[in-house]
Symmetry: C2
Subunit: 220 residues, 2 copies
DNA sequence: GTCTATATCACGATAGAC
DNA sequence: GTCTATCGTGATATAGAC
């Protein structure tokens, strides 16, 4: 790998930066390389010097976002504590990661749900992105199972709960204009982010706890 | 207005039908009118006899989906009962609506998050779709507020809870391959749908209820 | 109402000068 | 590494025969 340079971003990094924003807003097929190059301050053909094609650029963007998030989530899971506390740390870390980089949530929601047929055969970048996603999912999956086995959580459906967690975080921060209309204000202000974390914490604390159905199994 | 004809679907209805599936899978910019016409069993130019253009067709599809859902949700809200019971009925109705028509959730998720710049000025179909969405949101908003005022729900943030409900339903059924990978099976089997409803019911029953111990305000 | 052209334009990608 | 010029294709949309 060539050394990172913090001072002035290379063209390559500039392209990745603007591509992230554009793909997040318009999706893969909605973005033209022409506008993308223009936004990066380059001619259209210069993109092909840095990336093999549109698909490769797209997956490299996706990989960057997933890597950024995976690091934070793994760190949150590695902290000591009971499953519920670690789950709340995991959610907080995910919310922070999504809120900090406004394009992330939309890009993820698109990338995960989208169903383009990419012309080229399995790109290396796509495989790496899928691997990162797998690590994220495996981590939260294991945590939920641990919480159930310890009796801290009720006997919830782990996959359903994972889906609910994704929806409550990724969808929320990807919801754009609709979300702001529902919330009656910005999604990304520090106050809105703080309130979101607090609301999720309460919902999960009450909603996942082992309750009347499993009396006596609660532990401190 | 010309009256609908139930017997054999008109070309117009056939187009709407296949357009719904295509737009759901590929998004607005990902769908070409050529493939769309072919899937409907028509020549490409025939589409323009029934619809003014691609944008109008898209919004008419969106409007149909929203109308279908809005009717069910309004009916669920109109049933008598306590707020929690009516909320559970609302969620069940939404899940049923999304599960019954597989393209709906994806189309909605795209339509709500997507941010295309549609060339034409405010289309009538787009305004109608927005109005239906507004009615849906207003209904669930009022229900949550009523539950809080009656003391059935804790003092939750109504907008945050609306967002969570959307994420837990629309995202889930829009999650496609990723969702099936997480769930370890189909999203739309009657068993999966039943379990999803049951899980959401438990989460909301415990998570929104008033009177539980306060989880404590951690700083952050 | 459906069709066969066709117009016009943007797309991704390439070639090659500098 | 960036540029201009261009290729080939497919996009939306239109014109007009039947």
């Amino acid at each position: 790998m060539v050394r990172p340079q913090a001072a002035s971003p290379s063209s390559r990094e500039k392209i990745l930066e603007v591509a992230e924003a554009h793909f997040a807003r318009r999706g893969f097929s909605g973005v033209g390389l022409r506008e993308l190059a223009q936004a990066a301050g380059l001619g259209k053909s210069s993109l092909f010097h840095h990336f093999a094609g549109k698909s490769q650029l797209y997956f490299e963007v996706l990989e960057r976002v997933l890597a950024r998030i995976q690091v934070r989530l793994a760190a949150a899971l590695a902290r000591p504590g009971a499953p519920l506390a670690r789950l709340e740390g995991w959610v907080d870390a995910l919310v922070d990661a999504l809120a900090e980089h406004p394009a992330s949530a939309r890009l993820l929601l698109r990338g995960l749900v989208e169903d383009e047929d990419f012309p080229d055969e399995p790109l290396h970048e796509a495989q790496r992105a899928e691997q990162l996603l797998g690590e994220i999912l495996q981590g939260i999956h294991a945590l939920l199972r641990e919480g159930i086995e310890r009796g801290d959580f009720r006997r919830l459906s782990v996959p359903d709960t994972v889906q609910t967690l994704i929806g409550a975080t990724v969808y929320h921060f990807a919801s754009g204009e609709l979300g702001e209309s529902i919330m009656g204000g910005p999604l990304l202000s520090s106050e809105a982010v703080r309130r979101r974390k607090q609301e999720l914490r309460q919902l999960l604390h009450q909603g996942l706890a082992a309750g009347a159905a499993d009396p006596g199994l609660r532990r401190g």
